[in-house]
């Protein structure tokens, strides 16, 4: 009962010698919502297909709901929305759900009420008897969500669940995922929309080139605090400020990342002591997007485009001199 919903170690997949997934270590606890992130071609969809037994592993090991990968007993308790969501166009939404209820072996007495419940959940209650062929992409994705949520599965795997949805639809999906978690389902959310993952997930796993490059709770991953200062009248030599962390200029803001939040008052005092005038102090945590870009492209990639990075001493004892007195972040 307390088996992890998903646990993989070194899971590997190669297609005809081409490595799609090098080594996946993934753990999703019961009732946990985990985001699986990565750039295109990172191996996320391959990972999902391995978990469901749709492709065979080339190496490594894993379990889903305590059973080996692809086990049919485990699959009866999994709901899945594929990235390529297509359902029989000649069937009605109600018929598609009856088909999946039949394939899943849902008892006959439960089917009717369960289908009504999931259709209502995804906002398709009034389209139950319309043919899927007449549905928009967004409606088909909603239907796919209903199929995935049918029968209160212990694990829901959603591969890009909002790719065809408008902002209202995305908000609905967030509510649906929270509802699934409240009903005790574990959720693996494969998404490019980092804001979504940041809002919904307990943990995130970032995959790049087939391997996990970062994973942890959002608190652990985004733990690096940042402070942004808008200051004027600063001298050219900023050496004293390097003691607080690496400095960058982002769109006229003096940014220190990472910074110890406890030392922000000292930082402000140091700026004032150097003759600077502080107009604004904006303590901020790193966003998931910044973290994602850093781990996928390399450190510093998460900073704003065009940001100037000032290396700290002793690698370069002095910051590069700005074109005029004061740093480029100085507003005159």
């Amino acid at each position: 009962m307390n088996d992890p919903a998903i646990e993989t170690r070194g899971l590997r997949k190669a297609y005809d010698g081409v490595l799609a997934l090098a080594s996946l270590d993934l753990r999703v606890g019961p009732g946990e919502v985990v985001g699986l992130l990565g750039p295109n071609g990172a191996g996320k969809t391959t990972a999902v297909k391995l978990l469901l037994g749709l492709v065979r592993k080339s190496g490594g090991e894993g379990t889903v709901l305590g059973r080996p990968l692809g086990d049919r007993g485990a699959r009866s308790r999994i709901g899945y929305l594929p990235e390529l969501f297509r359902y029989q166009a000649w069937l009605t939404a109600d018929e598609v759900l009856h088909l999946h209820a039949g394939l899943a072996g849902l008892p006959g007495s439960r089917r009717g009420p369960e289908i009504v419940r999931v259709l209502g959940l995804v906002g398709l209650a009034d389209r139950a008897h319309d043919r899927v062929g007449g549905f928009s992409k967004g409606m088909q994705q909603r239907l796919g969500l209903a199929v995935a949520l049918l029968g209160d599965p212990a694990l829901v795997i959603l591969d890009e669940p909002t790719s065809a949805l408008d902002p209202v639809g995305r908000d609905d999906v967030r509510a649906i995922i929270r509802d699934a978690r409240a009903r005790g389902s574990a959720v693996l959310l494969n998404s490019h929309l980092l804001g979504e993952v940041e809002r919904l997930c307990d943990r995130a796993v970032i995959v790049n080139k087939g391997s996990v490059v970062a994973s942890g709770t959002l608190g652990e991953l985004l733990g690096e605090s940042t402070v942004r200062l808008r200051v004027t009248g600063m001298p050219a030599d900023l050496t004293p400020l390097h003691a607080f962390g690496p400095l960058t200029d982002e769109d006229g803001w003096l940014v220190i990342r990472p910074v110890d939040p406890e030392r922000i008052p000292d930082l402000v005092a140091a700026v004032v002591a150097m003759g600077g005038r502080v107009h604004a102090v904006d303590p901020a945590r790193r966003t998931l997007e910044e973290l994602f870009l850093d781990v996928v492209r390399g450190p510093g990639a998460g900073a704003s485009p065009g940001a100037l990075v000032y290396p700290a001493p002793p690698a370069r004892p002095m910051p590069p001199p700005p074109p005029a007195a004061g740093g480029p972040w100085v507003t005159r």
């Binding site: 297609y15 469901l52 749709l54 065979r56 899945y80 390529l84 029989q88």
Partner: protein
């Protein structure tokens, strides 16, 4: 294999096909074709009655027309079976529909066998329906009743099921169009090698006549077609052809004997083997 899931897929397949307009168009065209054939045969019989044609000659002529009609239906059936079955798995894979289904607790073989069962029922019903209609209309206007109508219809359906099985198995691994085209070529080759073998027998070239027999084992549709012919031709025609000698065997619309029991058993094994091969190919396929 899970029989419950197989039945769910078979039901889905029947519903899918019966909701396609093309099936009803095909059924309508079949009815129109039978009506035209009935009119043509009626004209033939009424116009020949004053020309000194004997009843036996008339019966022989009508039986040959009926065999030609059966040939037309067997061709239409084979084409329909090939192009219905070839995309049955292939298009599900190409569109991604299969992903959500196979993530359910089912074997991949359930999908193949369920599709086969649903398609097999449709093909068998169409074969029996169209064949019965054609034989009934010809019987109505000429009074000719083939000696083994049920057997002929059974062979017609069996032939279509064999074609359908091959197309389904190929479609479990190949794109639908490729699977359909290959199946049609295999079916055509079967008919061609059958005719070639018969002509070779008539000419006494035994080495060549073996080609038809060997191909019949690899793709048995022509052997089953011979069963259709035998069921439709009158006993007098068989007798007359036997008297005429082996030259008469060159007629591609003549069969001097029904398929042997061993051949029927082989056909059953062949269908099950091809179906198992399709399931094996699909099980190994990366989705």
């Amino acid at each position: 294999m899970n029989p419950r899931v197989v039945l769910v897929i078979a039901g889905l397949t029947i519903r899918e096909i019966t909701r396609r307009r093309i099936i009803w168009v095909l059924a309508g065209l079949s009815v129109v074709s039978v009506a035209l054939v009935g009119w043509g045969v009626h004209q033939l019989v009424s116009m020949s009655s004053g020309n000194g044609i004997t009843d036996a000659e008339l019966q022989l002529g009508v039986s040959q027309v009926l065999i030609l009609i059966a040939f037309m239906f067997s061709f239409v059936l084979a084409m329909s079976a090939a192009f219905l079955a070839a995309p049955a798995i292939a298009s599900d894979v190409e569109t991604g529909t299969v992903l959500a289904m196979l993530a359910r607790p089912m074997h991949r073989a359930d999908l193949i066998v369920g599709r086969w069962l649903g398609l097999g029922l449709i093909v068998a019903v169409y074969a029996a329906g169209s064949g019965l209609l054609a034989i009934g209309v010809v019987g109505l206007v000429t009074g000719y009743s083939p000696p083994s109508m049920q057997l002929a219809l059974a062979y017609l359906a069996f032939q279509a099921v064999a074609v359908m099985t091959a197309a389904l198995a190929l479609g479990s691994r190949l794109p639908g169009i490729a699977a359909g085209a290959i199946t049609v070529v295999l079916f055509g080759l079967g008919w061609f090698t059958g005719v070639l073998g018969a002509v070779a027998t008539a000419f006494g070239t035994d080495q060549l006549s073996g080609v038809g027999s060997v191909y019949r084992l690899l793709f048995p549709t022509d052997g089953l077609w011979r069963g259709v012919i035998y069921g439709l031709e009158p006993a007098a025609a068989v007798l007359a052809t036997r008297i005429a000698g082996r030259v008469a065997e060159a007629n591609p619309f003549y069969a001097d004997a029904p398929p042997s029991s061993a051949f029927i058993v082989w056909c059953v094994v062949w269908v099950l083997g091809v179906l198992a091969l399709g399931a094996w190919l699909f099980r190994r396929r990366e989705l």
